[in-house]
Amino acid sequence: MTTSTEAAISITALRKSFGETTALDGLDLSVAAGEVHGFLGPNGSGKTTTIRVLLGLLHPDAGEVRMLGGDPWRDAVALHRRLTYVPGDVTLWPGITGGEVIDLLGRLRGGVNRRRRDELLEQFDLDPRKKARTYSKGNRQKVALIAALASDAELLLLDEPTSGLDPLMESVFQRCIQQVKRQGRTVLLSSHILAEVEALCDRVSIIRLGRTVESGTLSELRHLTRTSIAVETAEPPHGIDALPGVHDVVVEDHHARFDVDTAQLDAVVRRLAPLGVRSMTSTPPTLEELFLRHYGDEQATGKNVAS
């Protein structure tokens, strides 16, 4: 086991290009042992490439990559006994059943926890006797998830593991990851499902165009975001739009709706109080908005990087 002081994953200035396309352009990532780390970014931002480097499938062009105290490229086989992996788009061998795939992948890694496997099959409601060619995308995803979660690996690399799962299964997945977390194991969870990251992750790294743009705990990242306020006051709420940090104000009669930078929240509330607040709702910042702020401009420029 790695000690909790050493980082489970440590990446500095990682670069990787495929021909003309730059997939990773100086990416940094640090995942502490025992934490669930959210790895966020739009499609094509380089999440999958990073994970494939960590798996020793791709050779980095430049940069420092350490994982579980080893070199992912040179020490691949030894490291792979200690980790497990779920790809975002699971392809299986069409003529082999789900149950067989789960057992085989477990054995290839170094052992299957039989009891855990059967529990997971039940929780995820998967029929292990069906040939993989008859599984839907969601069911293929379940096969890979069960294979990974049935292991005792100390590190879980999960690349958008819940794409294709319905909301019920999504919550089963979240319970499983919380259990993994309690056991002190490390998870790197790449995702663009923000509720999932908010529910599970201790810390988050946000990447874009192959670079890390933000990294920290969720509360550290909230300073970047805005709170949405809807308020009804006794006096008509005039002059709100003149306050610093207030955006998108709509005033109708005694009602006002606006967004406010979280840093300016206190000043705005003080300004509202003398008007006689009859009702007020505030919506906390979501990672969705955080995303929009960071990537709002990228959608216009189009996607020019590989995933």
Partner: protein, 514 residues
């Protein structure tokens, strides 16, 4: 009905790439055979000699059809080519109908069946017209050519309707294909047994019905009623079955598989064998049957060559030592097929890689070396196995005709002498996979094609000697005609080992594609 028409137009558009190749394939078979037969047996004397040797050869009759066809040159063409054309046309119909009835149920099922069967009917009509045109165009009598074309279309129609029925019975397309392929195999075997015997069993086979119209050799029209009548009945059955099954389901639910992996499925080697065992069994059986076909005419070959001096040009030893040169030629041919098997098996590595299926495996404690070795172990032992089944089949069939059981071990040994050459082609494939993964498949098949061309045609095309020096087959002693020499075989095997090692060095340092 307008819906059916609209759907038909859509299906035609989707088929415009694939279908022409099937039609071309069937047409070319007839074209080549008609030309070749009229060259070799154009005179009544040549045809009579042919009838004498082949007409009394049970194996040749089992492979081709009833000897009565040999009464005329047109019939001889039908005799040689009909079973092959029938198989091609049956498969064309199977894929055509299977793809469209099962693939896309959303568009209205009854209309889908109607339009898929109409499409198949149009394709069969086209095949019939093309066969007629090629046969008549190469100088065969017109009336017989009409019968030839109609009989071919009849076989196609039967298999189109059979596939429509199978698609109702089974839930997934592969199982339906398996069932239809089984019927096709049975149709071939039944007519082989029937034609070799008293002919009764041939009447249980759609291929047999076609041949029993005896185009150019007796002209019987009424057996055509069988395929067309049966097709109407089966088509009605498919529609009835359609109304009895649930949307998306089959009448027979798929068999559930294992809930847990058996104890032996525990490492990369077990996985590679599990993935490839079906294909290997198919190739081994195919080469075994080819061996039986070749072996069974080994004894007639000497007389055959004396009758047809042109054939001797194709044999490495000329007219002398005719049987041994024939055995050397067929063994070399089987080794080319074993090499082709080895290439398909080795390219599986690339298919696993690009499909993303290798990724979960390589993310476990499976090294790249183990991953490569697991699939390569199938390619290397599999190519040896196909040569053994070929030698077994050829030895058994030849041994029976000359009453000599010793031919079995002898011809297995002969076939295995060509194994290092097949391995070298596999090694070239590994080299390409390591260093040039993208064009690896093209490079590997170009290697096979080069070896095939220089091995089979160098002498008859008078290619200069140096052109074949790069082929491992040129350096393999042509046993049993030549003496067995171990040095060249060992050299080829060592070279293969070196190429595999170099290929692995490339595979170890390159990125794995996704």
């Amino acid at each position: 009905m307008t819906g059916t028409l609209r759907l038909l137009r859509f299906l035609l558009r989707r088929e415009r790439i694939g279908l022409p190749w099937w039609l071309l394939g069937a047409t070319l078979l007839v074209l080549v055979q008609s030309g070749q037969s009229q060259t070799l047996y154009g005179t009544p004397e040549a045809l009579a000699r042919m009838r004498e040797t082949i007409g009394s050869n049970t194996a040749a009759i089992a492979m081709n059809g009833p000897p009565r066809l040999l009464d005329s040159i047109g019939g001889e063409v039908v005799f040689e080519v009909f079973t092959f054309v029938a198989v091609v046309v049956a498969l064309m119909n199977m894929f055509l109908v299977g793809r469209h009835t099962r693939a896309d149920e959303e568009s209205g099922r009854a209309e889908l069946i109607r339009s898929a069967l109409t499409l198949a009917g149009l394709a069969d009509l086209t095949v019939g017209v093309l066969v007629f045109a090629v046969a008549a165009g190469t100088g065969l009598p017109v009336a017989g050519s009409v019968l030839f074309g109609a009989a071919t279309a009849g076989v196609g129609l039967i298999f189109a309707v059979l596939t429509a029925v199978a698609a109702q019975v089974f839930e997934n397309t592969r199982t339906a294909y398996g069932a239809v392929a089984l019927v096709l195999g049975a149709a071939y075997v039944l007519r082989a047994a029937g034609d070799a015997g008293d002919g009764a069993l041939s009447w249980a086979s759609p291929i047999g019905w076609g041949q029993r119209t005896f185009p150019y050799a007796g002209y019987r029209w009424w057996p055509l009623l069988l395929p067309f009548g049966v097709s109407v009945l089966l088509g009605a059955a498919a529609v009835v079955l359609l109304t009895r099954r649930d949307f998306g389901a089959g009448l027979v639910p798929p068999r559930p598989g294992r809930a847990t992996a058996s104890a032996w499925l525990r490492d990369a080697y077990a996985l590679a064998w599990r993935l490839q065992r079906g294909a290997l069994a198919g190739w081994a059986a195919g080469l075994g049957l080819l061996g039986i076909a070749y072996g069974s005419i080994g004894n007639s070959i000497e007389q055959y060559v004396r009758d047809n001096p042109q054939i001797a040009d194709f044999l490495p030893g000329g007219a002398a030592d005719v049987v041994d040169s024939y055995l050397a030629l067929t063994a070399g041919l089987s080794a080319l097929l074993a090499a082709a098997y080895g290439v398909t098996s080795t390219l599986r590595i690339r298919a696993e890689e690009t499909s993303g299926r290798s990724e979960p495996v390589l993310a476990t404690a499976t090294s790249r070396l183990t991953w490569l070795a697991s699939h390569l172990s199938v390619a290397l032992t599999g190519s040896a196995l196909t040569l053994v089944t070929f030698g077994l089949g050829e030895g058994a069939a030849y041994g029976i005709t000359i009453s000599d059981a010793g031919q079995v071990p002898r011809l297995i040994g002969v076939a295995l002498a060509y194994l290092p050459a097949a391995w070298l082609i596999i090694a070239v494939t590994v080299l390409a996979l390591g260093w040039l993964p993208r064009p690896a498949a093209v490079l590997a098949w170009m290697t096979v094609a080069y070896c095939a061309i220089v091995t089979l045609f160098a002498d008859s095309f008078d290619l200069p000697g140096w052109t074949q020096q790069a082929s491992p087959f040129a350096h393999t002693p042509g046993v049993p005609l030549d003496d067995l020499a171990l040095t060249p075989l060992l050299t080829i095997a060592l070279l293969a080992a070196a190429l595999v090692a170099t290929g692995y060095a490339g595979l170890r340092r390159r990125d794995i594609a996704s």
